[in-house]
Amino acid sequence: MARDVQLLTKGFSPGKALGLFAKAHPEAGGIASFVGKVRPDSDVKVLELIHYDRLTLPGMERLADEVEGRWQLDGLLIHHRTGHMRPGAPIVLVAAAARHRRDAFEAVDFAMDHLKSRSWFWKREKRGDGWHWIEPREKDHEDVKRWDV
């Protein structure tokens, strides 16, 4: 299975990355994907994601291992930003190419749930009154627990 796991320090185009991913997997019957962006609807001026070299990318690779082990995929892409981002900027892109639709869907869903609350990133937002550290919502913890067996 072809795997493309990247920790990105600069802005990226999810559309372009998805197009290349689709081209790289002509054999797949379907491609599911998710793009997460900095929400522009609050008074957040900047979002910062912090990573720790010795854990973050190795952790993303381990997540990819787990996804590959659980679902039958032709390809898996996980791109995650680190650093400062403006509202509307893409933070994360996950895509899975598979012969069967449900494999692709579940792989992306699982990876997103884990990136959100069980990956080695720390997030803070700059609002009108300064910086605030963000922790996963209760919903995020519930989402990821769905996969615990």
Binding site: G36, L49, I50, Y52, R54, L55, P58, H80, I91, V92, M112, L115, K116, S117, R118, S119, W120, F121, W122, K123, R124, W133, I134, E135, P136
Partner: protein
């Protein structure tokens, strides 16, 4: 003969720095004694994890760092 302690996220805010060198060897009691009380309380929180050289400890109180080791104090994560 030193251990590097990395503070991440809000722990770096509390520490007022991103990392600090402490004398090796260093165990959990030694680390707690070396940190400011606020930071020690945050480090003891059940939600703070500890990694040594990129390996997360199942039980942080079993910490036993030696010269050249890198200890990271990890607050709750949030990605995506």
């Amino acid at each position: 003969m030193a251990v590097t302690v990395i503070f991440i996220g809000k722990l770096a805010d509390l520490a007022g720095e991103g990392e600090r060198e402490l004398p090796a060897p260093l165990d959990w009691a030694g680390l707690m004694a070396a940190l400011d009380p606020d930071l020690a309380i945050a480090a003891k929180s059940q939600r703070t994890m500890v990694a040594v050289n990129g390996e997360v400890l199942a039980d942080k109180e079993s910490l036993a760092a030696k010269d050249g080791d890198e200890i990271a104090l990890l607050p709750p994560v949030s990605g995506g």
